[in-house]
């Protein structure tokens, strides 16, 4: 029987603010899991701290709600120990790009085959509205006393430079688009980043739902708002690296696109490269049976509890008689 998104709903009350972009993300995620027909016990959602951190509790798959900024180390540890699991890391922009930025960059170097969703709303919600690393310089959102004094980071450009092999952006209120992007990210072989633009109706009074929808700029001809977001797939953009020789130029093109902001903001897949070996493949180079018999599944003792690992060879190297 086909799975429905409702099959991925847990019994826990969803306590985000009314109108929060997280609802869209949660629904898109549940729909993606259902459409990919993933068995709940094989999926692990790993999150950090913040509003986004609560997501795993609302989904009926395994959930690991970790520490502020540490989503990626936990998620990688899980995936490396058991590569059969479908691991999806979730984090906020402060979580992943502020306190967790060191992990964000270094995860790219490994290319562990998993997905990372960033809830990107420019503010720290749960601590009441401070500026996050993606808030642009000089902006003064509602709760901060002075305009933001720091330049913003661009998660897509950092990810491209760090070695992520799938880099995408979507929008929390375009559930259909987001669902498709999440599906692609899960199916991608390698580390996939989805930067999810998301209004925070409580604390971000600048990049609001209305702002993204372009309600401040009415087309005089149609009398309708001109949305700021546009889809890369609609403009013939090809993100896929078909041959390693074009990797760098594809990356540069993706970075160029990722810089667009303001009146025209692209969403969609910016870059995709499955020619780079995943961390799993790199381990397999050294431990040939790794995928078949990964760390979490290895037998370490016999039925009587005696260890089965043969350490005689190690003692032999150290022998002095």
């Amino acid at each position: 029987m086909a799975l429905r998104w409702q099959d991925f709903k847990s019994d826990v009350f969803v306590d985000w603010c009314p109108g929060c972009g997280n609802y869209g993300i949660l629904l898109a995620l549940q729909m993606a899991l259902a459409e990919l027909a993933l068995e709940p016990h094989r999926v692990v959602l790993v999150s950090g701290i913040g509003c986004s951190g609560k997501t795993p509790h609302f989904v009926k798959v395994n959930g690991v709600h970790t520490l502020h900024g540490r989503t990626l180390p936990f998620a990688q540890g899980i995936k490396i120990a058991n590569p059969d699991l479908e691991v999806i890391a979730i984090g906020g922009d402060g979580d992943g790009l502020g306190i967790g930025m060191g992990h964000f960059v270094n995860a790219g170097r490994r290319n562990v085959d998993m997905t990372y969703l960033i809830h990107d709303n420019g503010v720290y919600g749960l601590t009441k509205g401070q500026a996050s690393p993606t808030l642009k310089l000089g902006l003064k959102v509602k709760a901060i006393p002075k305009p933001n004094i720091n330049e913003a980071v661009n998660p897509l450009i950092v990810a491209l430079a760090a070695g992520y092999t799938f880099v995408a952006r979507s929008y929390a209120y375009d559930t259909k688009h987001l669902k498709e992007i999440i599906k692609q990210a899960i199916q991608h072989k390698g580390l996939a980043l989805v930067d999810i633009l998301q209004p925070c109706p409580t604390y971000n009074d600048i990049t609001t739902k209305e702002w993204y929808a372009g309600e401040d700029r009415i087309d005089p001809k149609t009398g309708k708002p001109v949305p700021r977001l546009y889809k890369l797939e609609d403009v013939g953009y090809d993100p896929v690296v078909h041959d390693l020789s074009e990797d760098f130029s594809k990356k540069l093109a993706a970075m160029e696109k990722a810089r667009e902001w303001g009146d025209k903001i692209p969403i969609g897949v910016f870059y995709k490269n499955e020619l780079i070996p995943t961390f799993q493949e790199r381990i397999t180079q050294r431990i040939p049976f790794y995928m078949k018999n990964p760390p979490a599944k290895q037998k370490i003792c016999d039925d009587a509890g005696s260890p089965i690992t043969d350490v005689d060879v190690l003692f032999k190297e150290l022998k002095v008689t």
Binding site: I78, P288, Q298, D310
Partner: protein, 642 residues
């Protein structure tokens, strides 16, 4: 006490001091002798002074004594630094070309050393050159063996047709070994075997070193044959023995104990362990055709190291990380998460001189209280402290068993003196080692039940399900949680959950046998009772044996499980004693403080040391004797070491 023969090799870092010690130690091993060797080095790659202090005996030895019977000096600085440790009748092997070196102009000697040494030279009327210093000690009965290192190297070079001398200056270490064994009249065949074993895969290097050995050995025989009376009591032994460091012992223990994911960020003196495991990542098993592998991951920092290990543990692998003080400081938030989420993880914690960067390559046991208390909030943990290299091995296995049985983080405390020292042992007996994985539910057991990861139970331990198990979807959170692992701030749930977690410590108290928590030496009802933990064990046990022979009533309680502290046993043992003596490698006597806190027993005497160098048998013996004879102050601070 049997002091054995004490050999020291010293020279600039990068000049092959370690290799020399390894060759010397192995050669002694092949002659049926036991060796304990301590490695000392600066936080530096090349140029600063390093040395290896080896004790050789026909019995098992597990600490240094103060003496140096033979000093193999690769350079002038080694002579200057260690001159006062050489015993009368001992020997110094020194480079003839260095005799004119002006002592106070040796650039790598630090000013604080020079000012003390200058005073010493003045008091004893010693001239400015190395030759003057050597003349002074000659008069004290020390043999000085002046060897023309360069000439011997030139001979070797010409025999090997090597024109560039710089290609063979690296062999000064083997040269001094040849001289040493020549002076000792030791079987050169055993030394050759050691060289072949160490450089086995590089035939050219083997050839060069064998030649250097031979040239030096013959030189000593021909020039100094009658000058040195020490002989090593070589003999044939049938049992199999190994010579290994604490880093290696932990690594092998982990591999045997089923560690399958090890994470680390490079730090001294922990990293050697992870590198050893990585070098041996694929191993065969007792089951034909089945191999196992340990994934070793070098992470971007210690925060990632602990949290990645936690992830791996949740997935079901036995997982661990290794670090020292600065790294553990960064791991503390992860530790607290592990406590709250009842994650079986092992943290191998190699202490070194602290605080801050402290003495990065030197010894210290400053972090006991930190290991016991680290982390915000209260949560159960186990802290183990190994006392010697053999215990490092067995405790590495025990650590995983405790972690999984009681579902909590286990901190395995080691220290620099254990990590970097090497010792000879009969091959470790693994026949009685068992693996206990605790209660894990599989797909069948879960069929038809509603699984709660943190179900309330009598023991506080809830059956575990590994991520990915069918019928066993579950949740974790660092927030306080209900039985399902979902966030809960309800007061009654909070009370129950705190109690559930904390009562696992009672289970540890109940279920882990005292023999795994405490080692006791000496007289059970002794008047004088020593307490200590960690690598001081070797020196204390040796000193205690000597004092017992002399008729003193002494016992030694070595605490191996520091938390939860086996307080009943400790209280009972100490209360009967007239004097309780706390011996520790830190300033404040941290274990003593913990014992007092948990048992009400006060420490009557304190013997502490915090100069970055481990306690020797000699100084522990001397300090204890003062206490036992009623002549000691309440607190003695030991200072031996170079």
């Amino acid at each position: 006490m049997e002091k054995g023969f004490n050999w020291m090799a010293g020279g600039p870092q990068g000049s092959g001091v370690d290799t020399a010690a390894n060759i010397f130690g192995r050669a002694c091993g092949y002659g049926g002798l036991y060796v304990y060797g301590r490695r000392e080095y600066h936080s530096n790659i090349k140029g600063l002074h390093s040395y290896f202090h080896l004790r050789v005996s026909s019995n098992e030895v597990s600490a240094n004594v103060n003496d140096v019977d033979m000093l193999a000096a690769f350079d002038a600085e080694t002579v200057v630094r260690h001159i006062s440790e050489i015993v009368p009748n001992g020997g110094i092997i020194v480079d003839q070309n260095q005799l004119d070196t002006k002592i106070l102009e040796i650039p790598t000697l630090p000013i604080e050393f020079k000012s003390i040494f200058q005073e010493f030279m003045k008091e004893n009327g010693i001239g400015t050159r190395l030759a003057d210093l050597l003349e002074y000690v000659r008069n004290k009965g020390i043999h000085v063996f002046e060897v023309p290192y360069m000439e011997l190297l030139k001979q070797i070079a010409s025999k090997l047709n090597i024109r560039e001398l710089n290609k063979i200056t690296r062999m000064i270490n083997v040269l001094t070994i040849g001289i040493s064994f020549g002076l000792l009249g030791y079987d050169i065949g055993l030394v050759e075997k050691a060289i072949k074993d160490i450089f086995g895969e590089k035939p050219k290097i083997v050839e060069m070193n064998l030649l250097a050995l031979e040239v030096a050995y013959d030189y000593a025989k021909n020039n100094f044959s009658k000058d040195f009376s020490y002989r090593l009591p070589e003999r044939v032994v049938k049992e199999e023995r190994i010579f290994l460091s604490g880093n290696q012992a932990v690594a092998i223990g982990k591999i045997l104990g089923g560690c399958r994911v090890q994470t680390y960020y490079p730090i001294t003196p922990a990293a050697d362990e992870s590198e050893y495991i990585e070098a041996h990542e694929v191993l065969s098993t007792k089951i034909p055709g089945v191999e196992v592998g340990v994934v070793v991951i070098q992470t971007e920092d210690e925060i990632a190291a602990i949290n990645m290990a936690l992830g791996a543990a949740l997935a079901g692998a036995r997982a661990s990380t290794s670090t020292s003080g600065p790294g553990f400081s960064l791991m503390v938030e992860g530790l607290s998460w592990a406590g709250n989420n009842e994650v079986p993880v092992v943290i191998t914690y190699y202490q070194r001189g602290a605080p801050s960067t402290g003495l990065p390559t030197r010894h210290g046991q400053d972090d006991l209280r930190f290991a016991v208390h680290a982390g915000h909030g209260e949560f159960p943990r186990i802290v183990l402290a190994s006392g010697d290299i053999r215990e490092c091995f067995y405790d590495a296995v025990n650590a995983f068993n405790y972690a999984e049985r009681f579902q909590l983080p286990v901190i395995h405390l080691i220290d620099k003196a254990l990590a970097n020292s090497s010792q000879t042992f009969p091959v470790f007996d693994i026949s009685s080692i068992k693996i206990h994985r605790g209660e894990i539910l599989d797909e069948k057991m879960l069929d038809g039940i509603e699984y709660k990861r943190f179900a309330f139970t009598d023991s506080g331990v809830s059956p575990r399900v590994l991520l990915g198990t069918k019928n066993g979807v579950h949740w974790y959170t660092g927030d306080e949680h209900n039985e399902y692992g979902h966030i809960s701030e309800e007061p009654h749930n909070r009370t129950k959950m705190m109690e559930k977690r904390m009562k696992k410590l009672e289970a540890v108290n109940r279920e882990v046998p005292i023999t795994e928590k405490i080692n006791f030496f000496g007289e059970p009802n002794a008047k004088n009772m020593i307490v200590s933990w960690g690598s001081t064990k070797g020196a204390i046990v040796e000193a205690l044996n000597e004092l017992s022979r002399e008729g003193y009533s002494v016992g030694f309680l070595q605490v191996r499980m520091v938390h939860p502290l086996p307080r009943e046993y400790i209280k009972e043992t100490l209360e009967k004693a007239e004097r309780v003596i706390d011996i520790e490698m830190n300033y404040s006597g941290q274990l003593g403080g913990i014992i007092t806190e948990k048992t009400g027993v006060l420490m009557d005497f304190q013997i502490v040391k915090y100069n970055g160098r481990p306690m020797t048998t000699t100084e522990v013996y001397n300090a204890l004797k003062l206490v036992l004879d009623g002549r000691a102050p309440k607190r003695q601070v030991l200072t031996y070491g170079t």
